[in-house]
Symmetry: D4
Subunit: 227 residues, 8 copies
């Protein structure tokens, strides 16, 4: 196993074996890298696999600017802070990304872009939090029809649990750092989701729209094959 391909670019050892092992594309987490490191990593991965989409997440304004200049063909999402290089894969299955409030939109955008890069179709349904239940009940059918749901909420984090009680679709919950005081930077909604009364809810790290979408895509790709 220690002979699987990597690519050493000095400060990083790129994993060129990921697609074979997991079916997933390569990804760069830009948040603790310099713009130059992110650009160089994108370039190396793109050179190794020019026929695949490469995703960089958590790109701040400087990094997005550097990518824009270096890769004019890159698809850049400012709200979601993502950069995508190369052709998207053919989508299989479908994922619904739903948010409790308007403030959760950046996380939702990251999830939407990730879903596309990881090979599935995403649909966004924003602002259906439980303080006005009729908004949620109005979209119950769309939720039931998806192969997987990414449910995003901050503050009380109650939305994903209510959804998991309404439909049998796999639901992946994303707590967000929206809120203040006892929201504890997203710990409060995280705990709510981990303690959801409705069974079958699974949870990812705070603000981690990326990982939630990867999980959803892994499900949707499998389910979608059937159709």
């Amino acid at each position: 196993m220690s002979t699987a391909p990597t690519h050493d670019i000095g400060f990083a050892r790129l994993d060129l074996d990921r697609l074979r092992r997991t079916g997933d594309p390569e990804v760069i987490l830009a948040s603790h890298k310099t713009p130059g490191q992110t650009v160089e990593s994108l370039r190396a991965l793109s050179a190794a696999h020019p026929d695949r989409a490469i995703l960089a997440t958590r790109c701040d304004e400087l990094t997005r600017g550097a990518c824009q200049r270096e890769f004019p063909a890159a698809q850049i999402d400012d709200a979601g802070r993502t950069v995508v290089l190369g052709p998207l894969p053919e989508p299989r299955g479908s994922v619904v990304v739903v948010t409790a409030g308007t403030s959760d939109l950046p996380v939702a955008r990251e999830a939407m872009v990730t879903a596309a890069v990881f090979g599935t179709t995403g649909t966004l349904i924003p602002d259906v939090g439980v303080a006005g239940l009729h908004r949620l009940l109005a979209v119950a059918e769309a939720l039931a029809a998806a192969d997987a749901i990414v449910a995003i909420a901050g503050t009380d984090g109650a939305l994903p649990g209510v959804i998991a009680g309404l439909v049998g679709t796999p639901v992946i919950a994303v707590p967000t750092s929206v809120g203040y005081g006892t929201a504890l930077g997203g710990i409060a909604p995280l705990l709510t989701m981990l303690n959801a009364c409705a069974p079958g809810l699974t949870v990812v790290n705070i603000d981690n729209g990326f990982s939630a979408a990867v999980a959803a895509a892994r499900i949707a790709r499998r389910v979608g094959t059937r159709r």
Copy 2:
């Protein structure tokens, strides 16, 4: 002010001035007292005010047994762990006590008894948690008709916030220690309630059905006067 009446019984200084200041009856928190201390406190308060109801909360089995023997006329609630001595006041207004699950019933019983001792009428609606929303929607009218609501929930603690979005009645939320792991002994539902998206929700300590009912009774007594 330092001349207001107290009654010194050695280990305690009973506050005989409470009714005048706040309109509330005397109460004994038995949880850190010996059975003998609770019995003696009840006896002293009852002697001072034989015409009023005296409440002891958090009475364990030994204490309830001692009270049974010493005060055969006492009203004892095993589930709610309460002992009441003396005549209940004339009730004013109405309070609904609602729970998310069956496991929240001991806290609900404590709240029901407290509501009666503090001068209002309580109605219990158990097991309407948000994992099956139709159970809650079926009782929405009863909730809207109350003068105040005590909403009790453990684990995800989502119920009170959903109620506060459904009706305009004052809602007092009680987190319970029901749950395990990340429920953190009730911290998780407490945080959910403090971060409720619906405004106007107020919260008390974990498992504190007593204090929630006091708050609800203070509201209901004022509102109920009108009727």
Copy 3:
């Protein structure tokens, strides 16, 4: 229920049914929105209900500036960070807003404005913390006369509990993030309030003058009807 009115403005699904369900006006939490999103939300809600007051809270300087330009008739409170559009409702009942220190004033201002928008009369009593008890004892009668009290304190958070032992008025406690070190951004006074020895105290999120005032207004509106 899923047919109750909402208004979809792309990034938000406005809840136009709230007044019917709860008696409360519409509110926008601006803290995680762009100035443009807040302005657009205010405009949409105001267009739907031009005869009602609309409240935006947590408006930073940029947002307040944008609102000033777009809605010259708006009432803007810089200390409380609020923007109000449209005519205030006829007030019913009365609420006292009391603070432990000068530093709690921004939260108190948010509470005062919210009380007015939610249909009750607010009176402000600042700086009566327990380090100088005589300041508090001097206002005890005003506290007893209110329909509900919003008691605001940071650091040790002791004030609301002392008030709840002095008078029988419903008291809603607001911990503030004033303090440093072990104040833990407001967690310390929050815990103090949740553990108050005096019963009947209820608590809201740190710095949440808005929600405390909503709870107080819901009480005062009901009690005040009687008069």
Copy 4:
């Protein structure tokens, strides 16, 4: 929606509509119930749906004994603390349940039983923690072949993240309360899992083998239909 069927048995309001909404069977969480309440809930659900499997989880010794006496045909798992009544559904798809150590077996047993009741086939692979990597590498193919993986680990909680880097199968991680000191009753492995470097890992509450298996079964049932 408020007219969906429930069954009121005094202390509980059973949700008879769950299968229609979610495809999931009825379940009773026995941990905060008396043995009598669990027996009575099982009887009521079984009477409503004699053709379906009913699951009770977290049954202590007393409760399992009471079920044994009342329902001689019940399938009881002492290690997993489960009681199952009625015929299991036809399984679709397959789930692998993998543990880091021997001490995680009770949680794994709960997951295995739940998988069967929720309509999928479970396979158990115990004791392949990362302190001896060769044990894990030896089962990599079995992990890759599953429709979903439930990965259970206490103490450092590193196993699920390593699996999610090895295969593309959806992985649901369960932290356990195994460990001492800084394991913090399962908080440490929970954090490890939420922060896994490998993307796509999703997490449930500490020791919650039940909910992880529900999530896995929801995935496997969808994927498995195809076969």
Copy 5:
């Protein structure tokens, strides 16, 4: 310095130099020792200094029984869980030990015994918590007259801060583990005390009546010399 006297009894190295360095007597913390280890430590210290009082704290029932048998002349306090051997020193200065509630009495008893062993006079004033302020105001003069105050409170922990605002006497606050839920085993009153608005309050570990009394005695001995 490394030649100062110690006494090696195998499992412990007794510090025979303490009185010379600090003026304090020898003390044994029995809580993590076997009854035999505590008895043996007491015997060794008593043999080294038969003319001084030796104190053992946190003695459980078994340990107190063993001490009773071995040292018939020992003074044993069951509530405070202390054992004292040898003659008490001549007291200098005076300390007041004040509690918020009846449940704080065990900690107060430990403080009272410690004060005597550490060479000062203690006076106990129980049950003057802030929920009934008149009880506290009635004893303000006694508080002002002491050389140092040990103020003990659980739950909200508000009492010591109110005292420090009333009088200029040095006040040492002891949080207790009395309370439940968000009292967090004494963390809540500890935080209250550390954040007291009144300056000059100092704090010790939860339930540590011993250390508070040592601090108070060190002050009272110095002040009392003057008289």
Copy 6:
């Protein structure tokens, strides 16, 4: 008691009775006030008591500048962030302020200024942390000779406990926010101090050199009278 003097300046209710009750001067905590509010408070207190020193703590650069302009005679300490107006009282007794490291100096400066304003003499001994014990042992006599010690330390916070084992002088420990990572902003040294093996150590809030010095001065003033 409610008739004791206060001075209402709109945003604050100044406590003019403090000296009579506690012997302490008036103080303003500037950290959550505007420069204008601090200046106005200083002016009002100074006008009421021109013969006494008035202290403002936690004055940021803007506030210190405003004070400099308004009160040219003010004594301003930039490191300690203090402003003093009016004549210092005649000192009684002596306090030693000792720090573990150079980084603790700002807290030490605040303590030194406070000691002078509260009527005692302060001596500063910096940088004697336990990583080089000989530095501490070299000053042991100076520590033993003081009436009270303020011991300041961040990171491991071990210094004050070692001092309390060396000398019998009352020691007040101040944890500082110096450190990173697991220092948790001062929580780590706070816990160390609260758990000190040496008895008699008392503790104040993180970085609270002010309150520690007030406590020390209250002790030193009483002890010092004798001389």
Copy 7:
């Protein structure tokens, strides 16, 4: 690598490759196993390697009894809760195990036994905590002469950091759960050790005398070879 030897005994997959990879013997953590599982694991490992010592840690009384019966030749340490089977290896190098107090002895015993099984010589120095520094200074030479030090302390956890400032020997610190209240079950001394001012201190889990001794033995074996 996936072909390295393991031994499958149903509930466990024993790692028979450890000695080759790491030089360490096999170990069984008994704390979450039944006595039968521990006995069976010991038997299997002993059968595979009859010439090596096998260690079981955290054996409760029942498990130690079962081992005594099954393996009459086993060396059992009741205080340290260990069981050793088979011949000890030839020791290389030397380790000193030092404790702050008598209460830390069980952890020290676990470390002493582990050191022997892992191939080095252990020497125990108990009860030299920093509250009486002369006790520690008296053993400084023994500390300097060791190849590695295991320093064990609860409550304030200050001892290991002071040692690391005194000598250049590698020091491994073990926080213990000795203490109460803010000791937080060992979190307080853990934080003290992680924040030690003296550099080069490394830390293990609370009460983990085993892992500390493994680390110390790995060092001592390497250093000791030289002699």
Copy 8:
């Protein structure tokens, strides 16, 4: 002992005895010092021991600039934020510094410089995190050959434990603050490391590459002597 040499430079008491006691060079932690204080400390230590290397860590940009100007011969590492003055010692033994990701490089650089100043040879192996195990397995031999390993990881912190299971070399783990949300600023990887299943792992403070390298150097210097 209290006569060992120190150098008093007003704000600091430099420990000139360290090399004699511990074999370690002098070090300055610049993070809470002004640039001028760091420069002055470097100058004083360098004057006392011109023949030894002096290390300053945590030097921000301003401090590094000041050092550059004052000491043109200084070796400055911008990524590692270190300044070194004077000749490096002859290295003994070897240390491998390994990181899980690119983002851990600043901590690794601090460790590399420290290793050199503390007298050993460092080798850097970056970016071999467990999400792609083959990258780690490819360097296993280099890890086994070192005298000590410093293993650095953020987010899930799983790498050091996997290494400690692969090789018998002493491993010192450094958690980093890389990550977001539930990484809790490095608390999550710290807990993972403290709970590592593989025995013998020891841990230092978050981001503390310095102390880890000191510990590794102390080991390597002893082992390396032999060669």
